[in-house]
């Protein structure tokens, strides 16, 4: 039987999605459905003096109007920060209360003030206009770099500072810098982004007064986490009375990892009015209230010797976490960022200092890459600048500082199990025809265009687990993953995973793994996820963890099935267990060639008795049935790495910048389905290039979100990209039996510095992200002036 692992298997989930039979949360409508519309703050910062709901309550079709007072009266808890970070001085991070509906103050435009529930959406929306909120408007804190010098948003949080965190050794860094021939400095902004999954967030909560259970359909990457938070922290219903279903979900990119106020409010309100309550965000609500990403202001320095050897690195960053600390808001700019900021290099000394600040903007949390794109952008633009200042080739300076022996103890946290960074960069230079660049540059020049080339070599820590490590670093939960493999009596298989697929193709990749492991045809395997009432508790999908952590749990559960199957087969074949081998779905006795298929064994497991001639196949003490569960908690993260090379063409007359050639060579360890992995790389690159050239979340000085629709926020389109050239190298991970490393975030991590290094190479001066036509044109004008002065 040919192995399915490594094959370009077309996706099992595609047919329903392609024929309009997908079932997304907005597609679910219950009998006696009601519709919720949220009254949101129009101000970035204000005190709520009074809320008058009387007119709205009398409006046509209105079932209920609920406010922060109602939610407080019912003792519904606030939204939580899930990761505890300590400041350099040992003090705990400071976290403001975050009620699902505000009653005293609002802290960003879009903050939740009240909910109107009505018989139709139009009626709910009309009545929401009649809710009269009396605000005392206060001066908003908006800018990341000014937050610490502004008025305190919360009276018990001085300087709007959540924490002032340090990783690394300042003294050692000072010593390293003292020995340096040259210190390269950089100041940069990692632009704020809005995730923009194409499916807007939605929730539909249905309370059943008979069983006292709530069923919550929601757009979640992580239904089990939603259930435990809404139960244990918000106190809406006990876990055994709350079923969370994340059906087909239209993309997440981090923004759907955790429950938001709307899920809590809809669940609570459904119980209160004893009817189903449905809310679907319109796009502007998504822009206003989905958690945003990035938003760092960074000063970094690299100490080098004249021959290009790196001696030390320091990074001082202010990270904007918005108005409230969201679930993974505090780990994103710390442990997901700091350790990776030294890049893929031997760095004898380093530190990362991060000050996380509150502002009157939407909460900022994990967005594809989460911390690692910010880290990689910092070090990779710095390294490129070092190469320029030392007159070295950008590939040469990188190779000089790559580690070559593995495991490699990285400076700040990670022990990287495997990698071959030289092989990756060399392959990228080959695939991207680095040698031919000068020729292409001249050709571009002949058309009046400036062509630039930029490199990025990256590594990242993903496969987010291991519980022991993450909990020691402040995570409030473990991050293992579960799987249950259930052989049905007739021989087909249902595999339950605690991870969740919202575009990643788990239905296919996981089935490939189980099919190989069990010798069962792919079409007889169903992957089930997204329903807390079906499979075991799990931790969902983010941080490129599903395959390395969740896939391994499936492998382990399959191995348990085979182990039990061997015992049963031995009894059926009347031999000792040690004589039975399992191969390609058959239990075989080598010496006699007697065999039983895994389907026959499974069937027998469900019929454990003597029936006429058929004797019980179960060895003494063995339980009937064939179903195994496994929980996998790896010993380490996984460390994908690679080198990307980007070429851009700039039109100096207009500043228009086009990516004309992009080469990505990545090491994701073992690849289960190349078709899916390539798709993951493409998507990540589009988001990374989007950050570099197009996307930018902009608040004005009063805290109004200026980019709150697709008319104003530049989403990358099909005509913004060339065809990407991909290549792969492979050093299998040693921390999981599949040898896989995460692939979902690589593109978004590596692309921004590769693109920006190319832009700066083309223009000859620094440009900030996003490199819009206006900025690039101004940079070209500046260079023209300084060039003519020099002449």
């Amino acid at each position: 039987m040919a192995s399915l692992v490594g094959s370009r298997v077309e996706r099992k989930e595609d047919k329903k999605l392609l024929t309009g039979r997908g079932k997304y949360t907005a597609d679910v409508t219950f009998a006696h459905q009601t519709y919720a519309y949220f009254v949101r703050s129009p101000h970035a910062r204000a005190q709520i003096k009074n809320i008058d709901t009387s007119k709205a309550e009398k409006s046509s079709g209105v079932v209920a109007v609920l406010t922060g007072k109602d939610i407080a009266n019912d003792k519904i808890g606030g939204l939580i920060a899930g990761w505890r970070i300590k400041s350099e001085d040992g003090s705990d991070m400071k976290v403001p209360a975050h009620p699902p509906l505000a009653s005293e103050s609002v802290n960003y435009v879009g903050d939740h003030v009240a909910v109107v529930i009505a018989e139709s959406l139009d009626e709910a929306r009309n009545a929401a206009d009649l809710v009269k909120v009396d605000y005392k408007v206060l001066k908003a804190v908006v800018k990341t770099d000014q937050a610490m010098d502004s008025e305190n948003i919360y009276k018990d949080i001085p300087k709007n500072l959540c924490f002032d965190w340090l990783l690394g050794d300042r003294e050692k860094v000072k010593e390293a810098f003292d020995k340096a021939d040259k210190i390269i400095k950089i100041d940069l902004i990692n632009n704020r982004l809005i995730p923009n999954a194409m499916e807007p967030r939605a929730a539909n909560a249905d309370y059943n007064p008979s069983t006292e259970e709530i069923t919550l359909y929601t757009t979640s990457q992580n239904p089990h986490l939603a259930r435990i938070i809404i139960s244990a922290f918000n106190g809406v219903a006990p876990e055994n009375k709350l079923r969370v279903i994340a059906p087909d979900v239209g993309g997440g990119f981090g923004s759907k990892i955790y429950p938001y106020a709307e899920e809590v409010v809809c669940s609570w309100a459904s119980k209160k009015i004893e009817r189903p309550v449905k809310w679907v965000a319109d796009r502007t609500e998504s822009f206003l209230s989905d958690c945003h990403g990035r938003d760092h202001v960074t000063h970094a320095e690299l100490a080098v010797k004249n021959d290009g050897t790196f001696l030390g690195f320091k990074n001082e960053t202010i990270a904007n976490i918005g108005a409230y600390a969201s679930v993974f808001a505090t780990v994103t700019p710390t442990y997901l960022f700091g350790p990776c900021a030294t890049g893929v290099y031997k760095m004898p000394a380093a530190y990362s200092n991060v000050k996380a600040v509150y502002t009157n903007t939407a909460p900022v949390d994990a967005y594809r890459g989460a911390g690692r794109p910010e880290a990689t952008y910092t070090i990779e633009t710095l390294v490129e600048k070092a190469a320029r200042e030392l007159g070295m080739d950008p590939a040469e300076i990188r190779m000089k500082n790559f580690p070559t022996e593995f495991p490699f103890q990285q400076t700040l946290v990670h022990s990287v199990d495997s990698g071959d960074y030289n092989a990756g960069l060399k392959k990228a230079m080959e695939v991207g025809d680095y040698k031919g660049f000068e020729k292409r540059k001249n050709e571009s020049a002949s058309r009046g265009k400036l062509r630039g080339i930029g490199f990025c070599s990256y590594f990242e820590a993903c496969g987010i687990a291991p519980s022991a490590v993450v909990m020691s670093l402040g995570c409030g939960i473990g991050l293992w993953e579960s799987a249950e493999v259930r052989f049905n009596p007739t021989g087909n298989v249902t595999v339950f995973t605690g991870s969740h697929s919202h575009g990643q193709g788990h239905d296919t990749t996981f089935a490939q793994i189980a099919a190989d492991r069990l010798g069962v045809p792919l079409e007889n395997i169903e992957i089930s996820h997204g329903d807390t009432d079906k499979g075991p508790f799990g931790y969902g999908t983010y941080g490129s963890r599903s395959l390395t952590v969740g896939g391994t749990a499936i492998v382990k559960a399959c191995d348990k099935i085979v182990a039990k199957g061997k015992k049963v087969a031995a009894k059926m074949l009347e031999v000792n267990e040690s004589e039975v081998e399992f191969k390609d779905g058959e239990f075989i006795v080598a010496k006699s060639n007697k065999k039983k298929t895994i389907g026959e064994v499974a069937f027998a497991c469900y019929l454990p008795g003597t029936y006429g001639e058929v004797k019980s196949p179960l060895p003494e003490g063995e339980e009937p049935g064939l179903k195994e569960t496994s929980f996998f908690d790896p010993g380490n993260f996984s460390f994908p790495a690679g080198s990307h090379i980007c070429e851009v063409e700039v039109d100096p007359e207009t500043g228009n910048t086009e990516v004309v050639k992009y080469t990505a060579v990545d090491d994701f360890g073992t690849i289960i389905n190349p078709l899916i992995v390539e798709g993951q790389v493409h998507g990540g690159l589009a988001q990374g290039i989007g950050q570099a050239l197009y996307e930018n979340c902009h608040y004005d000085d009063s805290g109004q979100l200026v980019t709150a629709s697709y008319m104003d926020y530049t989403m990358p389109r099909a005509d913004n990209f060339p065809e990407f050239n991909l290549g792969f190298t492979c050093t299998p991970a040693t921390s999981n039996p599949l040898g896989t490393k995460g692939c979902g975030e690589a593109g978004a991590i590596a692309a921004p510095p590769a693109v920006m290094n190319a832009v700066m190479n083309a223009v000859g001066t620094e440009v900030s992200m996003p490199a819009t036509a206006e900025k690039v044109w101004k940079a070209c004008q500046k260079m023209n002036k300084s060039n003519s002065k020099a002449a």
């Binding site: 047919k15 999954a197 194409m198 499916e199 807007p200 993309g251 798709g679």
Partner: protein, 163 residues
Amino acid sequence: MVKFFIGGKTMKKVSLEVNGKKVSKEVPDHTVLSVFLREVLNLTGTHVGCDTSQCGACVVHVDGKSIKSCTALAADIEGSKVTTIEGLVSNGKMHPMQEAFKKQHGLQCGFCTPGMVMSAIDLLNHKKNPSDKEIRDWLEGNICRCTGYQNIVAAVKEAASKM
């Protein structure tokens, strides 16, 4: 009248042929086609991803041409023939464009996909063998956040060779 999604007082009878079937429904006069399809006919394959007629997730065919169904009043296209993503399967077989998207992995989360497929079919109705650039330009009104568009372009080319 059955209560659904939309409230409203001025009702209007709308008669259309949707995916080959004649339908006639009384709806509030401000009902847009996407809402008519999703909430009245339960054809939820047509998706709504924005409120500014930008994302293209709601593209359907009206009298053979692709339109954004969030921007047309159902009452305004009275008597038209509408084809949605659900209407492309014939005799249990997917349309060559749907097959090509599957083969080339032209979709991930699937949310933009119905609009993308409907839009791409209209392109091939206009132009038999479009270049990469022509495909990318045509699909400028359909936003995808997952695929980076590369495999969508490959799918459209694949379909062009089969249609």
